[in-house]
Amino acid sequence: MINLNTNDLIKGWDRNTIASKIADDLPHSSYVNLGIGMPELVSQYIKEDREIIYHSENGLLGMGPSPNENEIDLDLINAGKKPVTILPGGSFCHHADSFSMIRGGHIDYCVLGAMEISIKGDLANWSTGKGIPAVGGAMDLVAGAKNVFVMTQHLTKEGKPKLVQKCTLPLTGAGVVSRIYSDYAVLDITEDGFKVVQLNENITVEYLKSVTDGNIIH
C-alpha cells in the first residue's frame, strides 16, 4: 500500500480542478482565508452567483487580486508578503484584531496545504522537523476557523500517502480538519474514517484505499 512507484500512479485532477471544487463549496457571503501557495488558486474559480470576502491575517479584510506592476504598494501585502489590492468594502486592522477574527470563529473557511492529515483530522503542515522552525499563522487558523479545508496531492512526491492513521510530523492542530480535497477524491473527516464525498472519475475505491493509510468509507 505504501511507497508506490510514482510511475504507476493514476493521474488525478489537476490543481485548477481541485481549486474549482473548493470554490463551489464556499457559500455566498463567506469569509475565507486562503493559505499561501496552491490554495490561492481557489479565488479564481468562484462563480458569479456568490460574493466571497477574503481575509489575510496581516490585517486585511476584503483582499483583492494582485496589482498591476504600476499599482504595487509595498505597504499593501498579503500574508505571503506579496503585493495585493483591497476591494471596496474592505478594511485594515491591527494584528490582534485580525487574529480575533480567526480565533473568535468569524472566518467561515480556511483552505490550507498539508504534509499529513490523520484519520482524526489532525493536521501537520508547518514543520518537517528539520530546519528553522517557523509556524506563522497556521496554528491559529486551524484552531479558529469554523471549517478547515485541506487542498493537497493525495500522495507525497515520494509516493507516500498523506492521509494517514497517525501523523508522524509535528502537528499544526489536533482534530481540526473538516474536509480534504486531493487530486483523487474529496473526503470528509468522520468518526469512522475518511468518507468519500466525491471520487475522481479515473479512480476506483479499491485504488483509493491502496493509496490511503486509513479507513475509507464509501
Partner: protein, 237 residues
C-alpha cells in the same frame, strides 16, 4: 450576487430573536444606545431575555421601556443605578429581575474575549473585593489575579453612525463605547445606523467595526434622543 446585509424594516431585522435569548445592548448611557431596535424588540415581544449592557435603562424609552414590559429576566451590567432609571429599580426592589454586577473594564474585556476566541483571562480588577468571590485565583510574578470568563451573546443590538452594505461601521465620538466589542461577541449583530454609504465611500483605514462582525443592518436616520424623550415624558409603546 452581491452581499447586502441591509434589512427593510424592524420586523425583518428582528425576525429570528427568540424567547430566552441573551442580548448585548450597546451604549454608555444614551450615547450609542440602539433605542429603535429596542422598541422593535418590544413590538416583537420576545421574553425571558438576558441583557448584557453597561447600564440598566433610563425612563421608559429604549432599555428602560423593554425592562418595563417585563421582557427581561436578568441584567448583566456595571452600573444599574442610573439617575433616571425607573423600571429596573422598580422590578429589582420587588425581586422580579436578576442582576449580575461586573466591573466596567472587566465587562468590556469579557465581551472582547468572547469575540476573540479567548474563553478566559486573568485580571487584577476586583481582587480582594466581594466581586472576586467564587472566582479562581492565580499568582503571576508574585501578584494575585482572578480568572474572568468570556461573555458571549446570541444577539448584539448596536447603534452606529455610518455603514455600508457589507456591515462596515463607524461610530460618532463616545457613542462608540461597547458597540464594537459587542459586534464581535454576538452570534448575530443587528445594527441600526444613521446613514448608509456606498462601499467605495468607506475609507478602509477608518472602519471601526469590519463587516465580518455584522450580520444585519437597518437604517434609522433620525434616532430618538433619549435625554429629550425622557424630559418630554415620552414612553414606549
Amino acid at each position: 450576487m452581491q452581499i447586502n446585509k441591509i434589512k427593510k424594516d424592524m420586523t425583518e431585522i428582528l425576525s429570528d430573536v427568540f424567547d430566552g435569548a441573551t442580548i448585548m445592548v450597546g451604549g454608555f448611557g444614551e450615547a450609542g444606545s440602539p433605542i429603535e431596535l429596542l422598541h422593535g424588540l418590544i413590538d416583537n415581544g420576545a421574553k425571558d431575555l438576558t441583557i448584557i449592557a453597561n447600564n440598566s435603562g433610563n425612563g421608559r424609552v429604549g432599555l428602560g421601556a423593554l425592562i418595563g414590559q417585563r421582557q427581561v429576566k436578568k441584567v448583566i451590567c456595571s452600573f444599574a443605578r442610573s439617575a433616571k432609571g425607573i423600571t429596573f429599580p422598580e422590578l429589582y426592589n420587588k425581586g422580579e429581575i436578576e442582576l449580575e454586577v461586573v466591573p466596567q473594564g472587566t465587562l468590556a474585556e469579557r465581551i472582547r474575549a468572547a469575540g476573540s476566541g479567548i474563553p478566559g483571562f486573568y485580571t487584577a480588577t476586583g481582587v480582594g473585593t466581594p466581586l472576586a468571590i467564587g472566582k479562581e485565583e492565580k499568582v503571576f510574578n508574585g501578584k494575585k489575579y482572578i480568572l474572568e470568563e468570556a461573555l458571549k451573546a446570541d444577539f448584539a443590538f448596536v447603534k452606529a453612525e455610518t455603514a455600508d452594505r457589507y456591515g462596515n461601521l463607524t461610530y460618532n465620538k463616545t457613542a462608540r463605547n461597547f458597540n464594537p466589542v459587542m459586534c464581535m461577541a454576538a452570534k448575530t449583530s443587528l445594527v441600526q445606523v444613521k446613514s448608509i454609504l456606498e462601499p467605495s465611500e468607506m475609507n478602509p483605514e477608518h472602519v471601526i467595526t469590519p463587516g465580518i462582525f455584522v450580520q444585519k443592518l437597518i437604517q434609522v436616520e433620525n434616532p430618538i434622543i433619549e435625554t429629550n424623550a425622557i424630559d418630554e415624558g415620552v414612553t414606549y409603546p
